[in-house]
Amino acid sequence: MSKRFDAYPYVWRLPLLIWQGLFFVGPLILMVAMSFWLVRNYRMEPDFVLKNWDRMLGRDYFWNAYWVTLWRATLAGVLASLIAFPASYALAFRVSETTRRWAIFFLIVPFFTSYLVRVYAWQVLLAESGPINAVLGFGGLGPFTMLNSGFGAMVGYMTLVLPLVVILQTFSLAAIDRNLIEAAWNLGASPRETLFQVILPAARIGLILGATFAFILSFGDFVSPFYLGGSKPPTLSILIIDTTKSGQQWPRAAVVAIMMIATLFVAAFAAVGAAYGRRK
């Protein structure tokens, strides 16, 4: 009897495996294979040549775009975490349960509208002749160039990631055992010590995951660097578009995509390691 094959757990695991196989592993393998193909007369032909890799990784413009993307995504992760933290802290510790629930609801509402539409709205707001510069103008400031710049792109990234980061941080902060904080107080810890030695370490997982999501979403985003950053300079996602547009070079675009996925894997594993790893 004990040797009888128990299908039950496997049946429940199967959908996940099929899903991952169909929509992640399969396409990924195809993309890796495609990066060795050749394009002749605008048509892809299966082949096994290193030309695409050589060509993309041997170009300065690829590496320029790579470092710009990495830097901007890192900055977005750090900025989103810093901007979100006071709000998350207040939601977790300073407001009633009902207020927090409403706040979470309102943080989800932005996702009801398309991100692209929100970015177009920012185009109007950030324009040199737009309302923000008009208000600043009353105070004798500006006009500032905010569109088609790194600043514009960062505003877009925050639009994309900030609500999510606040939600993740709020949940992890709210889950902290209040007894720990009280104990810290009772043992004479200052507010600063309580924050850095009790609250932040206890909420570590949520804080790191929030920053990681911000990094991942910003790293792959095309909309903000294009429509608010003016492709100046292009990020890797814009480089993918450019590469496919010019001469249907999907294999070269695949090289860029694989480099992006590899980078995200490293970043995600490092983050998960930092979040769940044992503390020294």
Partner: protein, 375 residues
């Protein structure tokens, strides 16, 4: 009791069903022939109602467009579809040869089209013919020069591509994000006119690259179709390289203070032409449509196309727009002798057909454009 109720309701049901069947549009439509579907591969706007609605109604056809952005994109779409997918292909002229080489289009019969009515300059458009064989018929074109905000720059200042380096627009020069028009314009500024700004030696290409890189501090962004419109309209960009009236003409109608001019160094012409997709079975109606678009009526529609305006290569088209809309004829230079008239520009040697690079690989130009963007 129950039985009679049942009978009654069944009768009602049957009557209702019969009534519904008779009034269903599906049934009614069976008496009229379904419209013939014409699959068109084109730039945005070419199968929109302002262009095709009247022809559709008069001929019981329905255009089903697949829109692309750029010749590469077009070739990619065809390459990925089975033969016969597209009945009618609207292509940029410089890509017709590639369509032909790849075997995507059919030979056309020149006697079916009003070539006598074309301006002589456009009767033998390069790339449309191989010997006596015709592969594509030009339907409209436009000019690319200096597009500028007229509140900031005067027409005189815009009369040279040096306007792009004008300190008044530092950080406010936009690029239409495609290498051919912008690099072609720099090539013209460098004096590459004989035979064309796209047919240049390696040394001249080096010089074009250096000159282009010196433009970088002026650049405020690289834009697609929508971005080009928006940034010129809201004043975010004060001049734009690589475009012309096809963008500013639309904005002018909206009241934006923008204009385009062909500078002294010359302009670049974009050209759109119809080809017949290989494998189609609808030759008769397609030829009828091409002739409709080449007729005075069709040319007026094309000149005023809502998506983006174009010029007419036909003498009767000029006459028709001068009568139908004199202001538009004046605005777009479709009057003999006008200083921005394309025929005059051609005769002065100041207009060059957009082309793919002749002495370098297209890839080299592409690569440089990517480098320039990240520089």
């Amino acid at each position: 009791m129950t039985r009679s109720t049942f009978t009654l309701s069944r009768r009602r049901l049957l009557a209702g069903a019969a009534g519904a069947a008779l009034t269903t549009p599906m049934i009614n439509r069976a008496w009229a022939a379904d419209p013939v579907q014409i699959n068109m591969l084109a730039w945005y706007g070419h199968a929109e109602p302002d262009i095709v609605a009247e022809f559709e109604a008069a001929n019981n056809v329905k255009f089903v467009p697949k829109y692309y952005a750029g010749g590469d994109n077009m070739l990619g779409l065809i390459a990925q579809s089975p033969p016969g997918t597209y009945d009618l292909i609207l292509s940029d002229a410089e890509f017709v040869q590639q369509l032909n080489m790849a075997g995507y289009i059919e030979e056309m019969d020149p006697s079916l089209y009003p070539f006598d009515d074309f301006w002589p300059e456009y009767q033998n458009f390069p790339g449309h013919w191989t010997g006596d064989q015709l592969w594509s018929v030009m339907v409209r074109f436009g000019l690319l020069g200096v597009s500028y905000n007229s509140n900031v720059m005067t027409r005189e200042e815009a009369m040279s591509y040096n306007a792009f380096w004008n300190p008044k627009i530092t950080g406010k020069l936009g690029h239409f994000d495609w290498h051919l028009p912008s690099l072609g314009q720099v090539s013209l500024l460098m004096g590459n006119r004989d035979p064309s700004p796209f047919d240049i030696s390696e040394d001249a290409w080096e010089a074009v690259m250096d000159k282009t890189l010196s433009l970088k501090p002026q650049v405020g962004g690289y834009f697609d179709y929508g971005g080009t419109f928006a940034s010129l309209k809201n004043g975010e960009m004060l001049a734009m390289a690589g475009i012309g009236d096809w963008i500013t003409g639309v904005l002018q109608k909206d009241g934006a203070p923008v204009a385009s001019v062909i500078p002294e160094e010359g302009g670049i012409q974009w050209t759109e032409s119809y080809s017949i997709g290989k494998g189609t079975t609808k030759h008769e109606i397609i030829n009828k449509f091409i002739n409709y678009m080449l007729s005075p009526e069709g040319q007026v529609k094309s000149i005023k196309m809502a998506a983006y305006p174009g010029l007419s290569p036909l003498k009767s088209g000029w006459k028709a727009i001068q009568e139908a809309d004199p202001a538009e004829a004046k605005r777009s230079g479709l009057i003999e002798g006008d200083d921005q008239s394309p025929i005059k520009l051609l005769s002065e040697g100041r207009l060059f057909f957009r082309d793919i690079p002749r002495q370098q690989d297209l890839e080299d130009w592409n690569d440089f454009w990517s480098e320039y963007k990240t520089a």
